[in-house]
């Protein structure tokens, strides 16, 4: 009988991907809750790692008719000392023995691993991003050239010699252009030939060959090919993200948490667009310093409030480490809005002259207490200042936020601006 061996190892994997996504969609609410809980405990950069989450099995239950209770009979192997008629005490829990172990009735948690993309998608969903925004995340901005086959027209600099010669050869072979070697042989033969009749024959043949060689050129304009290039969108490879935060005593834990989520979101945006993203944390009271993430969010600090110090620090760092031509610069500032009045002019000047011209995006987030309604917050000194700059036409995104779901609209401007640019371009 014939037998076939099939090597399936090279078949495309993840046949279950589709089923898995359906399962996730179905378990969405539950998984989302789990993702939220997991992401709260993570650092900004780690938000993108996938990971294990666990959800209660309950919502995912597949019911079946099954029986329970009643009289049970069971045959077991390995009797040691029982004889017929013995009565064994029931194990604790009364009712019956746990003889149905392994039947899927346990309401335990259902644990499984999410991939990085699944995790991020759910994380973004949690922030109530509109679909448009999610699509924008995937887009790229600058354009580059890429080789794309050959064309019959183009600039002389782009002539592809190898391709042209190749085609010419093919054409010569196809049309049977006499080879120079053949002609040389005939001529040699003519030299040595004595018989007149044969000479005439050879001469005629030579003539014909030469005429044919002339009719069929060695290289014809038809053969010429040019290297073709296409413009393709190309991501600018790197971006730097500045996180500026007021850490004076008036910032509460809740405010810091809001700010952290805001930075996380911006980070996710950027990593989806740029291959390499750096983060610089600058915290400030009445003086600013660059710190690591732990200190940034959890380090103790106290003092007055001078926003200009942070902006100054940022512009210094940009000048020394991140050349605007090589880096896309994004900045996100979070504060409760306090600033000393005397500082305002300097802040405004730094922003308009040093920072905004080199930044892709500058977002300001004014955080409030969880219970405080945003409408009741009086305009703070910083808010008033930024408001004025904005009305002068500076590209600033600003938002007052006191709960998590209000964070996303800050980014609205980012996408809005992009759309306008596209319109202008077309």
């Amino acid at each position: 009988m014939t037998m076939f061996i099939v090597d399936r190892r090279l078949n495309p994997g993840s046949k279950s991907l589709e089923n898995r996504q359906r399962f996730l969609r179905r378990a969405k609410a539950l998984v989302q809750g789990a993702v939220k809980k997991t992401s709260e405990g993570r650092d900004i950069k780690d938000v993108l790692e996938g990971g294990e989450v666990s959800i209660p099995l309950d919502g995912m239950h597949e019911p079946r008719f099954r029986t329970e209770g009643g009289t049970r009979d069971r045959v077991l192997p390995g009797n040691k000392k029982f004889v017929e008629g013995d009565v064994l005490p029931r194990p604790n829990g009364g009712g019956g023995r746990g003889s149905q172990a392994g039947e899927g009735d346990s309401e335990d948690d259902f644990r499984f691993v999410l991939s990085r993309d699944e995790f991020v998608d759910l994380f973004l969903d949690d922030l109530e991003l509109p679909d448009l925004a999610k699509r924008k995340l995937a887009e790229v901005e600058s354009e580059g050239l890429q080789r794309a086959g050959y064309s019959t027209s183009g600039s002389p600099a782009n002539i592809s010699i190898s391709r042209t010669v190749q085609l010419a050869l093919a054409r010569r072979v196809a049309l049977r252009r006499p080879k120079p070697q053949e002609i040389a042989e005939l001529e040699a033969e003519l030299e040595g030939e004595r018989s007149e009749v044969r000479r005439a024959e050879i001469l005629a043949e030579l003539e014909a060959l030469k005429a044919k060689a002339k009719r069929i050129p060695f290289i014809d304009p038809l053969d010429i090919r040019y290297r073709r290039f296409e413009t393709v969108p190309k991501p600018v490879a790197q971006a730097v993200m500045f996180c500026l935060m007021d850490v004076s005593g008036s910032m509460t834990e809740h405010m810091k948490d809001l700010a952290k989520r805001f930075y996380m979101l911006l980070y996710v945006f950027l990593t989806r667009r740029y291959r390499h993203v750096e983060i610089v944390f600058i915290r400030h009271t009445d003086h600013a310093e660059e710190v690591d993430e732990q200190t940034f969010f959890y380090g103790p600090a106290s003092g007055g409030t001078m926003v200009s110090s942070a902006l100054q620090a940022m512009s210094d760092i940009v000048r020394s480490r991140f050349k605007p031509s090589d880096w896309n610069i994004y900045a996100a500032q979070a504060s409760d809005g306090d600033n000393s009045l005397a500082d305002s002019p300097l802040t405004g000047r730094l922003l308009t002259e040093n920072i905004l011209p080199v930044s892709q995006f500058f977002a300001y987030l004014e955080v409030g207490e969880a219970n405080g309604s945003t409408f009741e917050m009086p305009d703070s000194s910083l808010w008033t200042l930024y408001q004025r700059l904005r009305s002068e036409g500076q590209p600033l995104s600003m938002r007052k936020v006191s709960t998590r779901s209000e964070i996303f609209p800050v980014f609205h401007d980012l996408f809005q601006r992009r759309k306008n640019q596209e319109k202008a371009a077309s």
Binding site: M1, T2, M3, F4, I5, V6, D7, R8, R9, N11, G13, K15, S16, E18, N19, R20, Q21, R22, F23, L24, R25, R26, A27, E52, M60, E62, P63, R64, F65, R66, T67, E68, G69, G70, T71, R72, D73, R74, V75, L76, P77, G78, N79, K80, F82, V83, E84, D86, V87, L88, P89, R90, G96, R97, G102, D105, F110, R111, F112, V113
Partner: protein, 513 residues
Amino acid sequence: MTTHERLFEGADWDFRQLQRIHDACEEIAHGELGLDTYPNQIEIITAEQMLDAYSSSGMPLFYKHWSFGKRFAHHETFYRKGLMGLAYEIVINSSPCISYLMEENTATMQTLVIAHAAFGHNHFFKNNYLFRQWTDADGILDYLDFAKGYIAHCEERYGRLAVEITLDAAHALMSHGIDRYPGKKGLDLRAEEKRARERREHEQSMFNDLWRTVPSGPAKTTEILNSERRRALLGLPQENILYFLEKTAPRLHPWQREVLRIVRHIAQYFYPQSQTKVMNEGTATYVHYRIMNRLHEQGRISDGNFIEFLQSHTNVVFQPEFDDQRFSDFNPYALGFAMMQDIERIVTDPDEEDREWFPDIAGSGDVMGTLRQVWANYRDESFISQFLSPKLIRSWRLFHLHDDPAFTEGIKVDAIHDARGYRRIRRELARQYDVGFIDPNIEVVDVDLAGDRRLVLRHTVVKGAQLNETDARRVLQHLADLWTYDVSLVEVDARDKVLKEYVVSPRALAIAA
């Protein structure tokens, strides 16, 4: 005895060697054991593909549904944590018979697996009466392909949600979408005429006027006659709930009926497998054991490789005792293999007891003939009740526990491995494998056509085991959604006493519009 060339050396294998291994196994399986198999197709897969196969019941193609994703996620987590090993192979009851082999297996393991799956299981699939009766090995792959395409098409056309709801409902009723007995074929006119004529002749020849004087019972009322007629027209009582819905649910769309039909067919395809776990694995294990031993005798596998085989074979047929932490239930490989070997012993070397218990086969001498006969004509339940020998009961030290909640003192030991207990133990163990006792006996008994179209189901409670209430309600909810009118289920005991009654109304979001 001629010694053969080694099939392989060490642990590595390549495709040429697999071919040689297969041919060597085939020579023994067909030539010496007299097995009759479908053509084989052997596929090499990776661990990830094995996980994929796990989640779709081992089938190479299947329609899409979230529950398979759930199973996949579950297996994957367990596998990654190292809590679960993967099977060495999966084999599919189809023609050609497809065996999936893991790429990580050593050459010895591949030999074992080919002998086990490509010959043991394959022979069983082709010859066992249940598989012959209920499955169509030639058509199953095409059918699955059709099912996958059809369901994808429905999703495109009617929306994923609608299809998902229908499938959820169908899956919930899957265990009650099976024909347990082959259907009656309708007679053609000629046969019917012939039967009527024979009956008439019989009546004439047996005529006796006396019968007329025998009083019959009270005449049936019109109401009873009507309801009997109605039930007969609907084909009630019907235990195949999915079939009943497919044919008679009033407001299902044609595509929904087709989806129910697909789920029903697939459930039916797997029905024999659940009834023959012990036999199927026993057959395959016995076959691989015979083939491997023979290969070793012929010198085709080395002593070292043979010891590797013995080690994994021993693991496969390991049966922990009831008080062992690892014990969960009978290991079908162990029980099946032990019984097959026991039959071999009874056939070749019986003692007095065997002659008394198994007069038909004891000492008949033809091991393979007897086994082939057994493999073809039994399922787990009948196999155990027929062939579990007292000797095996003794060596496994089987005992029977009877747990009656009404008996408050505890659990009674009803029988042990002694002369008084053999038959009882054999009967109880056979029942443990009897689908008639495992699956609750639920039937559609009536539809209130004149009134509110309520569908009436009945669960005949056996040994006091009632339905789990949460689950029952959920399943009935699915059922009501498909039926689109109220559904009621009564649980009655053997004396027709009603123990519990459920009534469920369809949800507002009815599937059928």
